[in-house]
Amino acid sequence: MTMAGTMDFEQLVLPHLDAAHNLARWLVADATLAEDVVQDAILRALNYFGTYKGGDARAWLLRIVRNNAYTALSARKRSGMTSLDTVAPGADGEEPPALQVPDPADDPEAALVHRQDLARLDLALAALPVELRECLVLHELEDLSYKDIAQVTGVPIGTVMSRLWRARRALSGAKPGCGKAEGAVA
């Protein structure tokens, strides 16, 4: 990477550092791990920079961040570590307790609606299955279009739409009579 290349990279990527951190933080639910995920993602993005073909730099970076976060989550699951946030609140005050990432194979929303206190929206969001949570975070907090969310998460737009639907249904409580969401349009 030349000096000019490094400057290109910084100009392209650093404006999206907040988005990168916000996504990592919502995915791994751990302040320390989120920063590690972002740093690793930046280095990875730097290595991939030669293959960046233009387009939305934010979506490009967020895809790398997201994949890194998934790697970190599975590593944490394997090693049986739990988040430090469960015992030590972060520096920024009131932390949501780290809620473990439920196995996507379960039917988590249904169980969630019954046991989760939905009055705390941030807690409910943090307790969503990670593949639903990421869609909602990318749309509501980052204002990404369906198309960009599909790019970041690597699933078809139809799946993005049904995941957003499921996420919102879980957050607003069970809606009676709703059919199975996933797979309907995917």
């Binding site: 990477m1 030349t2 000096m3 290349g5 490094t6 910084e10 650093l14 550092l17 907040d18 990168a20 951190h21 916000n22 920063e35 972002v38 740093q39 930046i42 280095l43 730097l46 290595n47 030669g50 293959t51 960046y52 073909k53 233009g54 387009g55 939305d56 934010r58 979506a59 929206l121 941030d122 969001l125 909602l136 749309h139 509501e140 907090l141 279009s145 369906y146 198309k147 960009d148 599909a150 790019q151 078809p156 737009i157 139809g158 739409m161 049904s162 957003l164 639907w165 919102r168 957050l171 607003s172 009579g177 709703c178 059919g179 199975k180 969401a181 797979g183 309907a184 349009v185 995917a186």
Partner: protein
């Protein structure tokens, strides 16, 4: 498919609240919501939830410490990589120019009420929409440039297919009367490259047939036209702007396969097609 007949309508209302509908579709959703209390309630609920998320869910910006650490790591990595030209970085051609900014290709438009029609080709549209549409191709080797440029142009929503069919016996006759030759049409569904449709195109100064095949989320354009006894001495394979192409001739026809598939899978496709 969903066992809930209202599901697709709900997704449309959601798409409307999310600002993903074209004005005409949004107007139709709006007209329906005015007459349907259940849908009006759903719309209100979605709007209220969006407001609550906006107010109640914290955003986690990067700390100054993280920003500094990232800058330092970039600087360290670039210093370590001097001198330039480590063999590891793949020197893909970068577009000389691109329309920068977010959502460069414009918002994804849902094709009206015919929502289920989206499903089989959702991946294709997603792919098409994800591509930076404006690429200035390198000069020289005119035909590969033209073919790849056409492939990219075709990926734009609404340009991909003139006849949508997975049946080769539908696609092949469709070209009758539109071309002065009959392109061979084969389906490779059992080999993992299902036929998705066909398109009339204009390349090499003549109207030609383009067949569209799918491979997972990738699309392959196969261009076919008579070579007229003229032998092309250009490259038989290569890459332009990240798209791979393979060219061959058979029975007086010239074939070009173009895709963002990796070179190996595209070669597999070509081999299977030739053998079919």
């Amino acid at each position: 498919m969903s066992d809930d007949p209202c599901f697709e309508l709900r997704l449309l209302i959601q798409a409307d609240v999310d600002g993903e509908l074209a004005p005409a579709e949004a107007a139709r959703v709006g007209a329906h919501v005015e007459t349907c209390p259940a849908c009006a309630a759903l719309q209100a609920q979605l709007v209220a939830l969006a407001g609550r998320i906006c107010r109640e869910v914290p955003y986690h910006p990067a700390s100054d410490a993280l920003r500094d650490a990232v800058r330092a790591r970039i600087a360290a990595a670039s210093a370590a990589a001097q001198p330039e030209q480590s063999a590891q970085v793949v020197p893909l051609p970068r577009p000389a120019r691109q329309f920068g900014g977010q959502r460069a290709a414009g918002k994804f438009r849902l094709p009206g009420w015919n929502f289920s029609a989206l499903a089989p080709f959702g991946t294709g549209f997603a792919l098409a929409a994800c591509i930076a549409l404006v690429l200035v191709l390198p000069r020289g080797n005119g035909l590969p440039d033209s073919v790849v440029a056409d492939h990219i142009r075709a990926l734009q929503p609404g340009h991909l297919m003139d006849v949508v069919s997975t049946d080769q016996h539908t696609v092949k006759p469709w070209f009758d009367g539109r071309l002065d030759y009959a392109p061979p049409v084969k389906d490779l569904k059992t080999q993992g490259f299902p036929l998705a449709g066909g398109r009339l195109d204009y390349l090499a100064d003549r109207p030609i047939a383009a067949l569209i095949y799918q491979r997972r989320q990738h699309l392959i354009d196969l261009y076919v036209w008579p070579d007229g006894g003229h032998l092309d001495h250009g490259p038989t394979e290569g890459a332009r702007s990240g798209y791979n192409f393979v060219r061959w001739s058979h029975d007086g026809m010239t074939f070009w396969a173009v895709s963002d598939l990796d070179a190996k899978e595209l070669a597999d496709f070509v081999r299977l097609w030739q053998a079919a």
